[in-house]
Every structure is written in C-alpha cells, then in structure tokens.
C-alpha cells in the first residue's frame, strides 16, 4: 500500500462518496459541536423544512460566546450584555430541548468554551472528523482528529445528514526541529509560525505539525498550536497522536473504557504519517530560534519577537495597520504601555495556561491603571484552578477572576476594551475592533500577558521567571 499522510488516513476513513470531477466528496462527520451564535439559523432551516437531526447523539452543545462572565445577580438573573444575547442563549436552550441535543448549559458542571470542553469530556478523539460553526475547531487537530470550522449552512447540512460536501484539501508539513528555549512556549511558537508562513500561507491546506519540538509539547500546548492554524488560513491543523495524547485522554467521560480502550489505542497508534508520505508543501521551523513573540499589526501574520524592531510598512494597508496600532517602525513592541490584559480564549484558557500566568504573577501586583481579566475556558478548568488556589494569585495581584466563556476574545458579551486602549491578549485574533471598537490588540502568551500586566508595558516574562528561580 502506498504511503499516506495522517490527513489522508483520516480523510479516507470518512469518505461516504468519493470526489469526482463534478461533485465534491461526501464526508462523514463523527462529532458536531454547537454553540449559540452560529446555530440558530440552521435549526430554523431544519424546522422550516420539516427535517429531523440525523444523529443528535453525535452532537454536543454549549453556551460560550454571548454569555456573561460575571457571576449571577443577587436575584439569580444573569448579567447579559443585552436582550439579544440573552435571547440567543434562550434560543439554543429551546432548540436543544426540541431537537434532543445534549447541551452543557448554565446548569452543567462541564459548561465552557466549545473547543475546551470537547477534549475535556473525551468527546474529541484521534482519527475523528469534527466540525463546528467556528473557525477555531482546528484546536481538536491536536488529538489527530480532522477538525475544521464550517458556516451555518453547513451546520444545517451536518444536522440533517451528518455529512459535508468537501473537496480534498492540500497538505502542508510544518516540521518544527529542535527545542523551544526556556520561557518560550507554544503560543510564541505558533505566532512565530504564522509570522513565517503568512496570514494566508495555509489557505487551501491542512497543516500537519511535526518534529521533535511538537512531540515535546503537552496536550494543552498542542491545542494552542492547532487552534491558530486558521490564522494562517488553514482550515485544519493536525498532530499525530502519541503516548502523551493517550495518557491525557484515558478515563475521560466519553472515551472507551476497559478492553475497548485498549483496542482504540491500538487503532490510534496507526494514525501517523507513513515514512515517505508526500505533502504538497513542507516548511521547516527552528524551535531554538523562537523568542517571546507578539503581534504589532492587525492580523496574526504581523508577528515578531517582542524585542525585534517593528518592520516598516511596505504598502498602504500595512501603514493603516501600524497607524491603527500606533506601532512605530524601527521600535520593538517590548516597552509599549498597556491598558488591559486578557488571559483566556480557546487558545490559552486551560489549566496550564493559568498556571503559566500565575507563575509570573505570584506575589506581585499588576501595574496601577492596568485592568486584567482572567477567564478560565471551562467550569472544569475553573474548579481545578481554584483547587490549586490560582484564583487567589490572580485576585491578590489585582486581576479579575471570571466565570468561563469566550469573553474578550470576541467581545460580544460585554467584556471589551475602550477605543484606543491597548490590550495584551492571549486570544487568537488582533483584527481591528475584535476586542471592542477601536481597541488595539497585541497577541501574546499567558506568561507575556502576565509580565506585561505587572510592568504596565509589554514585558519579557523571562525576566520574572528568572527571579522566581533564583
């Protein structure tokens, strides 16, 4: 048999009808994740056409995007940003009841950001096809699942048929050789990769991250890397499952148990690219050269080491981006005054991210005038963090400890920055206005975010970590 890439193995196993010149392939979907923002119109469409859900057992819904992250009011009501947000949540609750979809809503101990809870529950498994009406579905690729974001029309397709019409994408291997230096993490790495291949460098491709530096990453870190594949234009990012993956998944609620677990692991071990498998494109990245990395413009491809000079604009659009950000060519981003710091989002809201921020913040206070929000990715993360006392570290430092949700990543729940404010954010998008109209976003790792909160300026976390070690 010919050598195949990991992508090809997962793809081939899900072809219901093969692609022809005239028609795309029909691909079976194993897991369909749902949230309140991109599903209402799809449910309405099904209702109008009198169609049932084909496999409600393969769906999992949660509330995350428009939900408040402040605790309930004294009267038990929720502090929604506006009536529409509240109505949207109520609509998903009603839709899930009507169509029989498992919803991890307000009363669930597992509610959280859709891409955080899928893996936590063990719903995300190697070799699966996973979709969600959300572009950061690529996160689940960290487990060797082919996972990508879809539009609302396609959400309806999957609801009604459990299938999608897809042309086979091209494949790109991103070999990350060597070892990340101390104090440099997965977020720095993925920003560095996007800065290298460009914001559209992955368009039309599925990325496979591989190499020694990738194998050395924890599952949380692998999720951070795969999460941002879409920021290079790629619909999906993959990492071959290995012992790290299996150990992380074992005994999670939705994974097979006992003999079925052993059989699954045997199957999953075959999910790696064969020697000699061919990719359409290959890129090499030297992990040893990665430094704490931040963005300086208005898309995630405008990323550089924080101590490197901001490049001069080469066209009108880059000039506009630098103007918007008030970034100065020739000057490094390090040292830029900060107004708001956000630790959260499906990129960096898991326990290890919070630990990373807490390590820097421990025993310190954030700078006067800086507002810092720490928003755990899920109720489970919140519980674990509180058990370790991380919330005390944050609140003692002067940060706000919030209820799980997307929060300032997308700023549609009332958590937002004011026009002109500079936000150091662990999220994934620095588009104009993403964190509030006129707000300026600098993407960074949790450690950099925490260091910047303390300094009141964009700061290198290694300076703080060294002190702790000493």
């Amino acid at each position: 048999m010919t050598s195949r890439t990991l992508f090809e193995k997962v793809w081939d196993a899900h072809v219901v009808l093969a692609e022809t010149a005239d028609t795309p392939a029909v691909i079976y979907v194993d897991l369909h994740l749902v949230h309140e923002v991109t599903s209402p119109q799809a449910f309405s469409e099904l209702r109008e056409r009198g169609l049932p859900l084909r496999r409600p057992d393969r769906m999992l819904a949660t509330l995350d995007h428009s939900t408040p992250t402040l605790p309930t009011n004294a009267d038990g009501s929720r502090p929604y940003a506006n009536a529409e947000a509240q109505a949207q949540v109520a609509q998903l609750e009603a839709n899930c009841r009507e169509f029989g979809v498992e919803l991890h809503g307000w009363d669930s101990a597992d509610r959280g950001i859709v891409h955080v809870i899928g893996p936590e529950l063990g719903a995300t498994q190697p070799g699966m096809t996973i979709v969600c009406g959300d572009s950061h579905t690529s996160t689940h690729g960290a487990f060797g699942a082919l996972a990508f974001g879809i539009g609302t029309t396609e959400v309806g397709h999957v609801m009604a048929t459990q299938c999608l019409l897809q042309r086979r994408p091209k494949t790109m291997a991103i070999h990350v050789d060597g070892q990340l230096p101390p104090g440099v993490g997965a977020k720095d790495l993925i920003l560095h990769i996007i800065g290298t291949i460009g914001v559209d460098g992955g368009t039309g491709y599925v990325l496979e991250y591989r190499g020694a530096a990738i194998e050395a990453l924890s599952m949380d870190e692998r999720m951070t890397v795969c999460n941002m594949s879409i920021e290079a234009g790629a619909r999906a990012g993959l990492i071959a499952p290995d012992e790290t993956t299996f150990a992380w998944l074992k005994d999670r609620p939705r994974v097979p148990q006992g003999a079925a677990w052993d059989a699954a692991v045997t199957r999953w071990r075959a999910l790696r690219s064969d020697d000699g498998a061919r990719y359409d494109r290959e890129v090499r990245i030297d992990a040893g050269a990665v430094k704490p990395t931040v963005t300086y413009g208005t898309h995630p491809g405008m990323a550089i080491a924080m101590d490197a000079p901001v490049p001069a604009a080469t066209n009108a659009q880059e000039r506009r981006a630098l103007d918007y950000m008030q970034s100065t060519p020739g000057q490094p981003m390090q040292g830029t005054p900060v107004d708001v710091v956000f630790v959260g989002s499906c990129t960096n809201s898991r326990l290890s991210d919070l630990r990373e921020a807490a390590r820097v913040l421990h025993g310190r206070r954030i700078a006067q005038g800086v507002r810092m929000l720490v928003v755990p990715g899920s109720e489970a993360v919140r519980r674990d963090a509180e058990r370790e006392g991380l919330h005390h570290v944050f609140t003692a430092a002067g940060a706000e400890w919030r209820v799980p949700g997307c929060s300032m990543c997308i700023a549609m729940n009332g958590d937002l920055a004011q026009p002109g404010q500079l936000v150091v954010s662990t999220s994934n998008r620095n588009f104009e206005g993403r964190q509030g109209k006129g707000a300026r976003t600098v993407l960074a790792s949790p450690a950099t975010a925490a260091a910047s909160a303390i300094a009141g300026r964009i700061a290198d976390p290694r300076e703080y970590l060294v002190e702790v070690a000493a």
Binding site: Q41, E84, V199, G204, G233
Partner: protein, 193 residues
C-alpha cells in the same frame, strides 16, 4: 436559491488586503438569530463615523460606488471567523460578487452557498481591476469569464459543483439528502467495524 447565470455591474474597490469577517460584520452584531437585515451593519465600523454619519474615507461611501454590486477586494478577502453572517451582510448590502486573487476558504464556501459569487482571478488582472474602480463588468457564470468593456475577457474557474448549483439554483442540502442510502451504508459499515 434563484439560478444565477450572469451579473452586470460597475465595480467598487476595497483595496485593503486581508479584510477579515470581523470587519465585514463586527462580532457584537452576531447576537442575531436570523439571516435578515444585516446589510445596514455591513462594514459597520469602517463605514460610519462615531456620530453615526457616513465615513467619507470608506471607499464604498463614495457616490460612484453606490449601486455597484461587484466588489474588487484586496488579496485574502474574508479571512478569520467562519461567520456566515459575512456573506449574508454583503448580499443584503447589495454586493453580489467579490473578485479577488485569493479568497479565504471558509468565506468562499459560505459565499457560494448563498449565491454570492466569490471568484478568484489571476494576480495580474486583479491588480489591474484594483486600479480601475467603476468599470463595467459582465460576469458569465456558465462560460466562466468576466467581460471587460473593451471586449477583453478574464477567465476564472469555479468549483464545478458550486457552479452547477449556482446555474441551476440547486440547494446543496437537497443534494446531500439524496445520498441517504450511501450515508446509511457508511453508518452500517462503521458500526460493524
């Protein structure tokens, strides 16, 4: 969906590269639960000034851009969020085609499913169109070319199935539903494995 075979219009140009879907429709408007009425929110934060009046610096606010239904946009249009609200908003705003040398994957798929012609053209011709706003174009979906006023033609290629659906007003869900037998077979094999 109504069949689409031809589209005539003058062009409007948004030359910026990497126009993301947050710019096409900001996230704070995504609390809607319908597809309708998003045109007034299209490009909201770019299009209006703080006091709600039209921003004269937004290219589509210029008198000559009014009524244009073909948008020539800078490279990598529609990147970022998968929100289908972006093509819904563009269509409701009056844009029926986007011409670009590169269009983000998810946006392109979403657009075509809604009858918004997301068409990739060669870089050279793209550059030329970016520099010449307001020219009259005719897009022929069946023959896959764009006719220029001087008789010249810009060829393009749509994914054949998307083109078939556009030309015949075929609804893709209808097509998928017809594959029920194959889907059932797949599910049975999967269960047996």
């Amino acid at each position: 969906m109504n069949p689409i075979t031809r589209l005539h219009s003058r062009t409007a140009v948004l030359a910026d590269e990497n126009i993301d879907t947050d710019r096409i429709i900001p996230a704070r408007f995504l609390t809607t639960t319908t597809r309708e009425g998003l045109g007034q929110l299209c490009f909201h934060d770019w299009r209006y000034q703080a006091d709600g009046s039209d921003n004269p610096a937004f290219p589509l606010n210029r008198p000559e851009a009014r009524g244009c239904s073909i948008l020539v946009a800078g490279r990598n249009f529609g990147c970022g969020s998968s929100r289908e609200h972006a093509p819904w908003a563009l269509l409701d705003y009056g844009i029926q085609a986007v011409l670009c040398s590169e269009i983000a994957d998810i946006f392109r798929g979403n657009a075509l499913k809604n009858g918004l012609l997301a068409i990739v053209i060669d870089e050279l011709e793209h550059r030329w169109l970016l520099k010449h706003p307001g020219i009259e174009l005719a897009i022929d979906v069946r023959e896959q070319y764009i006719a220029l006023p001087d008789g010249g033609r810009i060829p393009f290629r749509l994914e054949p199935f998307a083109r078939h659906c556009l030309l015949n007003g075929v609804d893709q869900l209808g097509y998928l539903l017809q594959q029920g037998e194959a889907i059932h077979r797949y599910e049975q094999q999967e269960q047996a494995a």
